[in-house]
């Protein structure tokens, strides 16, 4: 019973925050609703016994990525969007229609039958006996997924270098920095 209540509370928060992220006109408000969204997801993960994922969700997503978004919003100093007439072109409508059709297919499959699969050995009781969620995830991550893990570190290094190079001030030929176009 409590699990249903927890799920309902977090699901309602997630639905509300997701809609407000894309509906609010001010980017700062959107970012704050995104934080609420990510926190609610962390709660949902914790209710699914994925404690380590929940902690990482709060630390990395809500703590680092959204703060990065906030920094950029403050740096660019954008006002609220002016409500413009919506320019809808053919590719956008096509992508939207494809997405909705895909979701209808998923919904039909859900109505036809419960999703099943080969059940692995790591049930909630087995994980609890093996030493907890964090321990077990660590064991999987550092044995089966060791090479993808190392490749992920290379990806982060590349992203750091790319971000520095891209965001660096452009230099003109005579050396002075390019003017800010909005000033």
């Amino acid at each position: 019973m409590t699990q249903e209540l927890v799920f309902l509370a977090f699901a309602a928060l997630i639905a509300l925050c997701s809609m407000m992220v894309i509906l609010s006109r001010n980017a700062v408000v959107s970012a704050i609703y995104l934080v609420g969204d990510l926190f609610s997801l962390a709660g949902l993960y914790a209710s699914m016994d994925a404690h380590f994922v929940a902690a990482i969700q709060v630390l990395v997503y809500a703590g680092a990525i959204v703060v990065l978004f906030m920094f950029v919003i403050m740096l660019l100093n954008l006002g609220p969007d002016q409500r413009q007439h919506l320019q809808v072109s053919a590719p956008e409508v096509g992508v939207l229609a494809l997405t909705i059709i895909g979701f209808l297919v998923v919904g039909g499959m859900l109505l036809l039958g419960q999703p099943t699969g080969v059940t692995g050995p790591l049930t909630a009781e087995a994980i609890e006996n093996a030493g907890g969620n964090t321990y077990t995830v660590g064991m999987v991550l550092f044995t089966k997924y060791l090479w993808p893990f190392e490749l992920a570190s290379m990806l982060i290094l590349l992203a750091i270098i790319a971000a520095i190079v891209i965001a660096k001030k452009e230099q003109n030929k005579d050396g002075d920095t390019r003017r800010l176009a909005h000033g």
Binding site: I14, I22, K144
Partner: protein, 100 residues
């Protein structure tokens, strides 16, 4: 009992919100935030599947997705800053240089 169907429906809704944001918002920052929303919907499906199947591979996959999302946010925001410095706007109506 909360079954995987509930999580799938919730993730579908989140993903649809993200898709709508990417397609119809004109602020480049909002587009990036909507992409984060879509990635989170996928994470939710991974974790609920991992719980249903008694298999931790889904939770490990979430870490890789979070890594990729962090890289994407860093590089994407750097590109937003570079574009803003050059053109003075982050409105996708004006930034059509990537369109054919």
């Amino acid at each position: 009992m909360v079954s995987i169907d509930h999580y799938l429906v919730l993730a579908t809704f989140m993903f649809l919100c993200g898709t709508l944001g990417v397609l119809f918002r004109r602020n480049l920052l909002m587009v990036l935030m909507s992409i984060e929303l879509m990635l989170n919907a996928v994470n939710l499906v991974f974790v609920s599947g991992s719980r249903m199947l008694g298999n931790l591979d889904g939770q490990v996959m979430v870490f890789f997705i979070i890594t990729v999302a962090a890289c994407e946010a860093g590089v994407g925001l750097a590109m937003v800053i570079a574009l803003f410095r050059r053109y003075g706007t982050v409105d996708t109506n004006f930034l059509r240089i990537l369109r054919g």
